[in-house]
């Protein structure tokens, strides 16, 4: 479930990055790195587990699935927080700098 949620997040962020110049300016690329990197790594985990347990891998217990889904959503939230922090630090549109300058001059 975590793998599925991360792959869906990777695909959505890739489509947004590809179609929107504004998104590229807002450093959405960092989400692509995180989601695709984690998806590939969790894919390996999934293959290893499948080799160990066989078809049982596709019949997880409801409790495990819920916990994995909760983890998947938390992973997406963490990646989004990392992206927002990176965006504010890089400040590609100078919004933070302008706001701070305005505060300083008292406008």
């Amino acid at each position: 479930m975590t793998l599925l949620i991360t792959i869906i997040a990777a695909v959505i962020s890739t489509v947004i990055w590809y179609t929107s110049p504004k998104a590229r300016e807002l450093k959405v690329g960092i989400l692509l790195y995180m989601f695709w990197g984690a998806s590939l790594m969790w894919f390996v985990d999934a293959v290893v587990e499948y080799l160990e347990v066989g078809a049982e891998y596709f019949e997880p217990a409801a409790k495990d699935m819920l916990n994995d889904a909760f983890l998947g959503v938390s992973v997406v939230a963490l990646a989004l927080v990392v992206w927002v922090v990176y965006l504010l630090i890089k400040d590609p549109q100078n919004t933070v700098k302008k706001l701070l300058a305005e505060k300083r001059t008292g406008k």
Binding site: I30, Y33, W36, G37, S74
Partner: protein, 130 residues
């Protein structure tokens, strides 16, 4: 258990390599191939996937209680039997993760080179026709 340590270690190595290569490329700017992307630029993509992926995997390990904020940081390191299992997992799953990410990056980097070369050739052809 600690499989993310292998791609994280690779990320440290490739990040250092990228910094060194970038400096060298800046020095040899005029000599470098014009119709291809810089290698340091492509290495940045690998760094991003390795750091991003191992960062999110580290969070997953924290979620499952396999990482602790105090020494020895890995719960499996407290017991010799668990340590052996952890090392085995690092050697198998961890290495496979690092290899898969690197292989995907290599395919993407080759595709990017092909695309930029094709664009350059198209521009040359268009210039020759005019």
């Amino acid at each position: 258990m600690a499989c993310f340590i292998v791609p994280a270690t690779e990320a440290i190595i490739t990040t250092v390599a990228q910094k060194v290569i970038k400096k060298k490329e800046a020095k040899n700017d005029s000599k470098s191939g014009e119709n291809k992307l810089r290698f340091s630029e492509k290495l940045k993509w690998l760094n991003g996937m390795l750091w991003g992926g191992s960062g999110l995997l580290a969070f997953e390990h924290l979620w499952h209680g396999e990482i602790t904020p105090f020494f020895p940081f890995l719960t499996a390191a407290n017991d010799p039997a668990d340590t052996a299992e952890m090392l085995h997992e690092m050697a198998t799953s961890g290495s496979a993760m690092a290899i898969l990410v690197t292989a995907v990056w290599a395919v993407v980097a080759l595709a990017a080179d092909k695309i930029t070369t094709a664009q350059k050739n198209e521009k040359k052809k268009a210039g020759a026709e005019v």
